[in-house]
Symmetry: D2
Subunit: 144 residues, 4 copies
């Protein structure tokens, strides 16, 4: 199992996704569907798929060219369509791409596919950079 390129946040650890590819304008987030991801009818919860899409889209616009620095963004709008059916045991990969944007706003697209390449979900997100994260250099991670 591929390790995550960045330690996910706490919700990411709860859900169990991993950032497995990341470069300017591009991010891949992977997850192995387990029993904890199923809804009341035994299939992966829509919120799980939305989580993968939000994460891959957000990362795709936040690649940072300075090691140790970070870029941060907030989601303004996230749209998702659930087009196929995943099952427990599937390995899902969400590929996010930043398609356009300026200094403050960026636009993204995402597809989620299973290990056989079947399209499971698609989505789009609009994000706003947080102050200090507008440029590819990002900013130092603040100590707390």
């Amino acid at each position: 199992m591929q390790e995550s390129l960045e330690v996910p946040g706490q919700f990411g650890r709860l859900v169990g996704y991993r950032l497995i590819a990341w470069r300017e304008g591009y991010a891949e987030v992977a997850l192995t569907v387990g029993p904890d991801h199923l809804n009341r009818t035994g299939v992966p919860h829509g919120g799980l798929l939305a989580t993968l899409i939000d994460t891959a889209c957000g990362y795709s616009g936040c690649y940072c060219t300075v090691p140790g620095n970070r870029r941060r963004a907030v989601t303004l709008s996230l749209n998702t369509q659930f087009v196929g059916q995943a099952r427990a045991g599937d390995i899902l990969t969400a590929v996010g791409r930043a398609t356009a944007g300026g200094r403050r706003i960026f636009f993204t697209q995402c597809e989620v596919r299973d290990q056989a390449g079947r399209l499971i979900a698609q989505g789009e997100g609009v994000f706003r950079y947080r102050c200090g994260s507008e440029t590819p250099e990002g900013e130092p991670v603040a100590e707390r």
Copy 2:
């Protein structure tokens, strides 16, 4: 803390939401934001809010008039806007309403507010009933 009116599915238990009101065309889903719900920048993950919206919207169209029976639906499309900022410790309530629909498809709207009534997120979902769940009577829960 209000108990859930239905035992949530496994993802619901992982995330920790509760169904606290449910009637024909209406559902409320509540969650207390804890450390596990935060993203890499310390605020609630967009996927968490999408999960609440998907859940409240889905339940709003699946109220069942026969005790012990159940109605099931799959999400076709889920749209979310993140309009405010929630924090750890907040109690979020997602109110879902079924606004229209026919025998197979139903449409919903949702607002997520914090304990002070501030709008945190809004969204809309389109759902399809699974076979056997088209009528308010629903169907018996299958043994496995």
Copy 3:
């Protein structure tokens, strides 16, 4: 037929909608469905309904408190669901509400109903104010 409170732009005149109510955070846009609004299968085109939603949502965040001034915004994201069936001859009213926002971004919701109050479509938009339009006072209309 109620006159428009503001002369619509050129696309608005082509399509034929009218701004019939406008105040801070609120706008109503009306249109009588005519033959020119129908698609290849004889019902109102989805793009027509999206146009009404985009217009009502945009106006709802652009009310200006200084007579003769103007506020301008661009749509970042527009989502629409088509929940009912309108017909030629119907009078549609799109009610847009600004639900949240800050200095640069605002969020909206919209419902489109026919003359009998039936819900025909619902939607949500995220908008960005253009430079100079961030405050309720707006800015003078530039001469060209």
Copy 4:
């Protein structure tokens, strides 16, 4: 100027778009932006772009293998993001693709680009086939 492969419906003629490529799962819709397409601030109306996206997405799922027959669908959900700025005189092309679907529902993606290939808008739609249009053979066009 390329002719339309199918005579557009009445709203299509009002707006002025043309269907310039069409095959199973794919459609291209073109439009030259003219003065009539501009909004109150002098740029193409968001509803115009939503119209192109709705049209290209809808056509992409309605290609019919029997000459003279037709397939019809209704939009359930349409999402659009406006990522770039078009101008009067631009030739916009909306490329719609059916990405998944079953007998009754199909899912689509769309990108709108200008003559220089710049991304102007992106979107996604969910559609439902009308009765009689579920198969690629479609059905005869009814006389009226």
